[in-house]
Symmetry: D2
Subunit: 118 residues, 4 copies
Amino acid sequence: MTTDLEELAVRLREFVRSRDWEQFHTPKNLAMALSGEAGELLAEFQWLTPAESQNLDSPTLARVRAELGDVTLYLIRLADVLGVDLVEAAHAKLDENARRYDPERYRGSARKAPPLPS
Amino acid sequence: MTTDLEELAVRLREFVRSRDWEQFHTPKNLAMALSGEAGELLAEFQWLTPAESQNLDSPTLARVRAELGDVTLYLIRLADVLGVDLVEAAHAKLDENARRYDPERYRGSARKAPPLPS
Amino acid sequence: MTTDLEELAVRLREFVRSRDWEQFHTPKNLAMALSGEAGELLAEFQWLTPAESQNLDSPTLARVRAELGDVTLYLIRLADVLGVDLVEAAHAKLDENARRYDPERYRGSARKAPPLPS
Amino acid sequence: MTTDLEELAVRLREFVRSRDWEQFHTPKNLAMALSGEAGELLAEFQWLTPAESQNLDSPTLARVRAELGDVTLYLIRLADVLGVDLVEAAHAKLDENARRYDPERYRGSARKAPPLPS
């Protein structure tokens, strides 16, 4: 894991340990928390047009930034508990997508296939 | 953003640009994709006991790792499009949580307050 | 609960009982499954424009209908396990929203407040 | 659609129309709102053990009931906008699952296949 992500993972470990919260941080529970926070992020955008979502006003951007922080914390914590390197996992998935979605064939098309799919 | 995250953000920019997919990558759509991938990650854990989620078999761990890769990619892409530094946003949120959840008062308790809450 | 919903709840009880799956259907697990299915529904719309989402092609509508079926099944099952009447809960929430969002004050505005919010 | 669900759908149509909110209620936006509310429901269960989730205290059950109300409202509204009959869609999905998951073969096993899967 990168230095910055590792630093966050270490800080989280200490945060959790000092409150005796390891008992709550099973992978199952952390996956729930991550998904819940992703839902809060989603809610910030639900009534905006696509164009409005590209020009957030200042209070909305501040809330979105805080939700992105929450998602990042739970993602790092879940990966740490599972022993997964997020940067390696992301590169591996992007390698796979690069093979799967030929640039010429999928140019400008989200119909044939979703970008960056699962 | 950290060097490793910045490298992923740059790689994603090129991946998207070479397929002419910028048109699909509005913050609204990316927040949807992130939440959808978090849902796929969640589904891997839904029938497992908490203890089972701490001892994943090898095929499940491989799928979980791939889903973590997807979530990471969309999170980085969304932050990049919005101009948000994920590492800074995560530290800011953890600072806030450290102030909000006194270690003594919240020791061992997820009832009084959820760990790492929104 | 309405006759049709009650009929589905009873059919689900028998489906689950005959497979000895009650052990998996805790409220926690069912809430995860419901959220995961909502994420699959979300994924069907993520790259569509708002206008496209109003004019689904036939294969997409068939997939969306199947996902709506999944969400409905888990919602009914979760409510049944918890002993909650969904129709009463929905009316109670709509009563609350009707009081909270004055028609004149909130006319045409999702900015001041989200429609049907939590 | 059943009488009770139809009654809720009609009540929602009037609620939305009287506030001029039809413009926000595209299927894309409603799928986002549904997923966001499912995430709020999920968050109620994230730190509970499976056993605790089966014995909710009174304030938690009240919040869960309110979230179930929200999910139900958005599900009915989305189906109404799309012209999908939820009860028919649910029965069709349950028919499919009954064929797919032989009671003998899948007895007591969420490993071989998740119950009520997508």
